[in-house]
């Protein structure tokens, strides 16, 4: 996400990077670009104005202008100011002694409350919690059903008193059930509503009163425009909001609304939703987020992702294998699968420093299909061939190509790359290897393994 914004900002910085001395005019030009970039990213008009003024004040300081690296100073100022906007609050949920802890999900229609409820339940389960979810959305057709399905996918208990159509009563009985069953968290999903719908806002207040929530999470669509402040502000004023969940950040939304909400409404971002799978919810980290915005990459999140899909034991086994030079096509395939489990390539690439700009340069998205093809080729081999690639002669290669729906050239290319990779791995010797580096497209030579170390 934030690609377009980070690219624009990178352009700005690139243009001033060459200058040995900054003048007031160049700073002004850079500021104008920053202003436009932020406006196009839907950052609130007033926030932009204040932001640009603050950056100007600091950048026009004679000490900055005369320093040896003025442009880097400006970059740092922008970074500092962005971080200051997000505040120093930590993402995720704050500690509480409340049992059960009640989490109330708020937001406009279609912001992703129900999906986020499921994701949050799953995340809590991973944290060793035992959540119960309940829908109080009796308005949208099939909303209760949707939560039931999502909860089942997440493997959490759902409270659904059949026939009970009073939202407040549903929340209340969910609490009672949680006490009886011993759930330590209750997530209450609510009906989406417009912040100007008084009747529904009163209903929310009533739900809040009976459930006594610790957390009131406002679910906001990352694609929201200038209206973000108004709606979030109203929810905060009428119900109270303790944190924001920013959803759909996996699109190309520049998410400027996030900045506005945080700085104007003064509520920290707790989580970000980054995909359609139930695992796609991460606690928010302002520093990583800002780094990504500025195209500085987000290696920490990448490592976390890698750790989540890679089994420590497997990793050690493979490492030992590589040391002995016994890396086979089968291992290669396992590596590919692992990489793909981490999510779409595009998302992974976005986290690598310096790749943000490159992606745009290539003008194309990383080819997931290519990976599928490689997997298909390896799948079409016999176990023996996978263990000993050199027995693949012409006729075997032809068979493999037919079996995988590719051409002999594709098979040849893969094998050649594989041989090269094997040689490289041997050379590296005591180090763990990096099989992904040999994937057909020239990707950053950085796979889950090198990151684990």
């Amino acid at each position: 996400m934030f690609d377009a914004l980070s690219n624009r900002l990178q352009d700005v910085f690139q243009s001033i990077r060459g200058e040995t001395r900054l003048t007031e005019t160049t700073v002004e030009n850079a500021l104008r670009e920053i202003r436009l970039a932020l406006l196009e990213a839907d950052v609130n008009f007033k926030v932009v104005k204040a932001f640009v003024d603050r950056v100007r004040d600091r950048a026009m300081d004679q000490a900055v202008l005369k320093s040896l690296t003025p442009s880097q100073q400006v970059v740092r100022i922008v970074r500092d100011e962005l971080l200051a906007l997000f505040g120093d609050a930590k993402g995720g949920l704050q500690d509480t002694s409340a049992r059960p802890r009640v989490i109330l999900m708020l937001g406009l229609q279609g912001s992703g409350k129900t999906t986020t409820t499921g994701k949050l339940a799953k995340w809590l389960t991973r944290q060793g919690r035992f959540p119960l979810v309940v829908s109080t959305d009796v308005r949208r057709p099939a909303a209760i059903q949707q939560l039931a399905i999502v909860a089942e996918q997440a493997g959490v208990r759902v409270h659904d008193p059949v026939g009970q159509m009073d939202p407040v009563a549903r929340a209340k009985s969910a609490l009672a059930e949680a006490m009886a069953v011993g759930n330590d968290v209750v997530i209450v999903d609510t009906a989406g509503r417009l912040h100007i719908d008084d009747e529904l806002m009163r209903e929310l207040v009533a739900i809040k009163e009976v459930s006594g929530p610790t957390d009131l999470l406002y679910v906001a669509d990352a694609m929201t425009g200038q209206d973000a402040i108004k709606s979030a502000g109203e929810f905060n004023a009428q119900i109270g909001v303790t944190g924001v969940v920013l959803t759909k950040i996996d699109g190309d939304a520049r998410g400027g609304a996030a900045l506005s909400v945080v700085s104007v409404v003064g509520v920290p971002i707790a989580f970000v939703g980054s995909g359609e799978k139930l695992d796609d919810l991460e606690p928010f980290h302002a520093d990583r987020f800002v780094s990504r915005m500025l195209g500085m990459g987000d290696v920490l999140s990448l490592i976390e992702k890698a750790e989540a899909v890679i089994d420590e034991g497997d990793a050690q086994k493979l490492e030992a294998k590589i040391r002995k030079g016994g890396f086979t096509l089968e291992d290669f395939r396992d590596q590919l699968r692992m990489l793909r489990r981490m999510g779409p390539l595009e998302k992974i690439m976005g986290m690598l420093p310096g790749l943000g700009g490159m992606k745009e340069l290539a003008g194309q998205k990383p080819d997931e299909k290519q990976l599928s093809r490689i997997e298909a080729i390896i799948n079409s081999m016999t176990p023996g061939e996978r263990k000993q690639a050199d027995i693949l002669d012409g006729s075997r290669r032809k068979r493999v190509a037919r079996g995988s729906g590719t051409t002999v050239e594709d098979v040849n290319r893969l094998l050649k790359q594989f041989v090269e990779m094997q040689r490289m791995l041997k050379m590296v010797g005591q180090m763990t290897g990096d099989p992904i580096a040999a994937a057909p497209k020239k990707k950053k030579r950085k796979g889950p393994f090198s990151l684990m170390k």
């Binding site: 436009l36 406006l39 196009e40 990213a41 839907d42 609130n44 008009f45 406009l108 229609q109 279609g110 912001s111 992703g112 308005r139 949208r140 057709p141 099939a142 909303a143 059903q145 949707q146 039931a148 399905i149 999502v150 996918q153 417009l194 912040h195 100007i196 669509d221 990352a222 694609m223 929201t224 425009g225 200038q226 209206d227 973000a228 108004k230 709606s231 759909k248 996996d250 699109g251 190309d252 939304a253 520049r254 400027g256 609304a257 359609e276 779409p344 595009e346 998205k365 997931e368």
Partner: protein, 311 residues
Amino acid sequence: MGLFDRLKQGLQRTTQQLVNQFDDIVRRADAPEARSRDVDVETAEALEEILLMADIGVGATSEIVSAVTKRSRRGESLRELVKQEILRILEVPTFAAQSSAASVGKPHVVLVVGVNGVGKTTTIGKLANQLKREGRVPLICAADTFRAAAVDQLQIWADRAGVDIVRAREGCDPAAVVFDAITAGKARQRDVVLVDTAGRLHTRTNLMNELDKIRRIAAREVAGAPHEVLLVLDATVGQNGLAQAREFTSVAGVTGIVLTKLDGTAKGGVAVAIAHDLQLPIRYVGVGEGMDDLLPFSPREYVDAIFEEKW
């Protein structure tokens, strides 16, 4: 109730900064002694702010501002100039669309697409109801086989509208459901087949390819299908709406926009940006959760409602 009244109702319920600010600016700029002069820098900046706050976007905004700062000699009022400019942007694609709406092939296939959570399913329900009232018999196709309970949600809408629905299990190939629905539509002599698709972010290549497949299947089964491809946009969306419109148009060939959730405080200004950059017309607006809360879009009423004088 017409679009104007519905929008006005929404506006009235909030402290409408936009309208108030606009009134202030206009009052100053249209004062008798100022009328004959060009609009000054301060006013232009204030106007720019208002337009940007309405999500109209940097491109369209600067065009509107530069167009209105030079007044004609007759000293037209700033309010009228701004309204005319936006109207000009909105009307071009609308007329183009009306003239090319000639339809071949039966049933008339309407594809409803958009990102997640914009209100596609609800819009389908409302559209079905409207068609039925006009005396055309629609058939609903539940091709959102991805989101949990999406089909059930649509079923409820279909029941409310009293319209047939063709559905399949969750997880089925949506193109197959579309094929079934079109076949059923032909057999049952339906006038229109309304296809609900799963929400997808326009950056997901594989999901967008799925739309292309649905399109191809429809085109193969009925001449000229899909006759209409409606992109549903949430009125609260910001400049990302442009990116959505661009991507969906290139993959699915969008022919018009449905602007939903206009009953809130957001006014969907990005539609102006879309009309400006991509010449796509707004066809309908959603103004509430009721069955009848879908109205045909009228540029004039929309502009009037946004920039009406304080009431």
